[in-house]
């Protein structure tokens, strides 16, 4: 993962006009709202996919706030990531119902299949999959729940995890 990040073009708005334009549009839309920092960061995370240090600098300069304040917010909330994620994300819910329902076993299975730990991203060729644990997604009656990209799968068994991961690999 780190190897791909050295390509600062991807994550530095001052070197990437396309990224800068995307962030500028978000800033313009929300800058006059009270407490706009959270709104801006939320939008950037959703649309760009990550908030790198360079993006934090850029936003701080534009909103005239210290970058420490921006970083303070970024590091406080788990929703923000500073590194680009893999192309696909597979998340395992660790809410109470899912934990009791067997999500630790699902994680075990996925670790074995992907060969990575929670929070890491695979690097086989073109497909990259990020594996994460997440807090309750509010689908407790479907426990245990796995979220692949934006799709929620309920009542997942270990064999289903294999299927899901194979499908991602096939899709590329």
């Amino acid at each position: 993962m780190l190897n791909t990040i050295t390509n600062t073009l991807q994550i530095d708005p001052t070197q990437n006009p396309e990224l800068a334009a995307q962030i500028d549009a978000i800033l313009e839309e929300h800058r006059n709202k009270p407490g706009c920092l959270m709104v801006v960061l939320n939008e950037v995370q959703t649309k760009v996919g990550f908030v790198s240090e360079q993006i934090q600098d850029y936003i701080a300069a534009s909103l005239h706030v210290p970058v420490s304040k921006v970083h303070g917010v970024i590091s406080f909330y788990s929703f923000f990531t500073t590194r680009p994620r893999g192309k696909h994300t597979i998340k395992f819910c660790l809410g109470t119902a899912c934990y009791v329902g067997g999500s630790p076993q699902l994680i075990e299975k996925a670790k074995q299949l992907l060969g990575i730990e929670l929070g890491d991203t695979t690097e086989d060729g073109n497909i990259s999959i990020t594996m994460e644990a997440c807090r309750c997604v509010g689908a407790c009656s479907q426990a245990p729940v796995v979220v692949v990209d934006d799709t929620i799968y309920g009542r997942v068994k270990p064999s289903k995890v294999t299927q899901l991961i194979r499908a991602l690999e096939k899709e590329g």
């Binding site: 709104v39 917010v73 929703f79 809410g95 119902a97 509010g138 689908a139 009656s141 799709t151 309920g154």
Partner: protein, 593 residues
């Protein structure tokens, strides 16, 4: 408004969408137009019709027919039979509801739906359907007939208490904010439902967003607020979308904005998204978060009703509290206070999850016993197991044992029993659950979500987690239980906000009710429920194993060996005790020791 003779509701829950419910919806729309029925039959999408296991699912009204497992090529036949000829197709219908899991099924006899009355029945994205169910009538009544003080008095007399968990009387809270002199006041709706195992607010926001919007407008009128915010979790994208649609529609109908319903009262609101911090459910942290800062709680007083959002008086209530308000105004405070117990009035929604037959959302009057919830509403324990404990109120709650099953649920009784009402999560645990492991699980959550501002919570929860992990790993020491007890007292006393103060509850309650399990872990190095991995071993019973190889194929570490059709065996040195083999074995041949 056009009148349709028939309505089709298509489930847009992620599970159903994944199975192609949106394609089914498009096929239905196309087929209905091609038959020229577009003015007679309306197609809508709505969250959650059944349990999505048999998706894509649709509901046909007014008949209330529930079709499941639909495929695209069945749609022309379905439209022709059902809507052109008026004949239901029994083959496509869902089997009659039995003991199946459902998020919001038909209410059982013990349930009373006030907050959830419209969920799953109306199109949440259409304000007219809400209006047809007496929506915004309460607002009209308030604006035309009552002064703000009369509104507050009505709410006070109803006995409504904060549904976010603390149970502060809502009417009193409103009057405190009203009495603070300021030219700007804010109204905030706390929709940061972070408790694992709780999804009541999500269902209301997604299924009936206008009831929350209406409740908020009435509250704003009562306290004199001009701007409102709904702080919703980022993990609920559908709720955020539905709320934004609801707010836009209310604005278009003159129910939000300047001069609401032609009066001098003006109020508007917007949705703010959280970013995955559990502590932001605490009101002072939530305020910081809306202000665009780190969501760290601050000491109270000053309370938000005096000094809140952007330094101005602010009234904060939970989603469910607001959703109750329109009904209280319409049906009167006496009706509301006729339900419930002496000090806790009305109904409460709970998310029932865990090892019960019917998991899902329920709404029951206060005063119902835990036994009724688990066995009557929840349909008893799954797979014939025994009830062991019920954990109420999210991670800050406690685990109540069989002895507490006859407890009447209200704010005071739950607190007395060592748990809390919380926002309403209820997780039922059967005899295969290890209570030390559960305590460790919750401490892991709390420790992770502690914001780090005050020392007792930041350091204390970490120490407690270390001790619990040690006990689960079979390395518990003499004196660990006493050390935990001491830490519990200090963390509870000295923490700043509800997160730290509630953190010890799960340990205190499990120590009180399941002390023998702690002792077995520490002194006998045994896990009575056979859960803690360091203390158990998996073995294959040769007489039951048929050599189907299912376990060997599924073992993540290849610890199982053996020829096909001959008994297998597990190598205890490589086995990581994940339990997958036990789950996949169809012959009950795996034994846990």
């Amino acid at each position: 408004m056009t009148y349709f003779r028939s309505h089709i509701l298509v489930c847009n829950d992620p599970v159903c969408t994944n199975k192609g419910s949106m394609e089914i919806m498009q096929a239905l729309i196309d087929e209905i137009s091609s038959k020229g029925l577009q003015d007679e039959v309306q197609v809508l999408d709505t969250p959650r019709i059944g349990n999505c296991e048999n998706g894509p699912e649709i509901l046909v009204y007014p008949e209330g027919l529930h079709y499941i497992n639909l495929k695209k090529d069945q749609i022309p036949f379905l439209v022709e039979e059902q809507f052109l000829k008026g004949r239901p197709i029994p083959d496509f219908l869902a089997p009659p509801k039995k003991e199946q899991a459902q998020e919001l099924g038909e209410p059982t006899a013990k349930e009373v739906r006030v907050v959830l009355r419209n969920c799953g029945k109306i199109d949440p994205q259409n304000i007219e359907e809400y209006i047809a169910e007496d929506g915004y009538q309460a607002l009209a009544k308030v604006l035309s007939e009552s002064t703000p003080d009369e509104v507050i008095d009505t709410v006070r007399r109803s006995g409504l208490r904060g549904r976010g968990g603390a149970g502060f009387p809502t009417g009193l809270k409103w009057s405190l904010t009203r009495d603070t002199v300021s030219n700007t006041k804010f109204l905030v709706c706390n929709a940061d439902e972070g408790d694992p195992g709780a999804f009541m607010n999500r269902s209301v926001l997604e299924g009936d967003p206008h009831s929350v919007v209406e409740g908020m407008i009435i509250a704003a009128y009562a306290i004199g607020a001009t701007q409102g915010y709904i702080y919703c979790r980022a993990e609920y994208p559908i709720a955020v979308r539905t709320l934004n649609i609801a707010i836009e529609q209310a604005r278009a109908y003159g129910l939000l904005g300047e001069h609401i319903m032609g009066t001098d009262f003006s109020f508007d609101m917007e949705v703010r998204k959280g970013a995955g911090a559990f502590v932001c459910g605490e009101e002072t942290a939530l305020i910081k978060s809306i202000e665009g800062k780190r969501g760290e709680p601050r000491p109270r007083p000053p309370f938000p009703s005096v000094k809140g959002l952007f330094g101005k008086p602010t009234n904060i209530n939970n989603v469910e509290s607001y959703a109750n308000v329109p009904q209280i105004i319409l049906r009167g405070p006496e009706w509301f206070s006729s339900m419930g117990t002496e000090k806790s009035k009305g109904t409460k929604t709970f998310a029932l999850a865990g090892d019960v037959n019917r998991t899902g959302l329920i709404e029951v009057p206060f005063g119902i016993t835990l036994r009724e919830i688990v066995f009557d509403v929840g349909g008893g324990i799954k797979n014939g197991h025994e009830f062991k404990a019920i954990q109420t109120g999210g991670p800050m709650g406690g685990c109540l044992p069989t002895a507490d099953l006859d407890l009447e649920v209200d704010y005071e009784k739950l607190t007395q029993a060592g748990s809390i009402m919380g926002s309403g999560g209820m997780v039922v645990m059967d005899d295969e659950t290890c209570m030390v492991d559960i305590a460790r699980f919750f401490m892991d959550f709390i420790q992770d979500e502690s914001c780090g501002k005050c020392v007792p919570c930041r350091v204390g929860t970490r120490r407690m987690l270390e001790i619990l992990t040690r006990i689960c790993n079979g390395e518990g020491r003499d004196g660990d239980i006493e050390l935990l007890e001491e830490l519990c007292v200090e963390i509870k006393q000295d923490s700043l906000c509800g997160l730290g103060q509630g953190a010890p509850n799960v340990i205190v309650s499990t120590l009180k009710n399941f002390r023998d399990e702690y002792e077995a872990h520490i002194y006998k190095k045994e896990c009575p429920a056979k859960v803690c991995r360091a203390l158990i071993q998996y073995e294959i019973q040769a007489d039951k194993c048929v050599g189907c190889t299912a376990c060997a194929r599924n073992c993540p570490v290849d610890a199982i060996s053996g020829e096909a059709k001959k008994p297998h065996s597990i190598n205890p040195d490589t086995c990581i005790r994940c339990g997958i083999c036990k789950n996949v074995c169809n012959y009950d041949a795996i034994l846990v020791k």
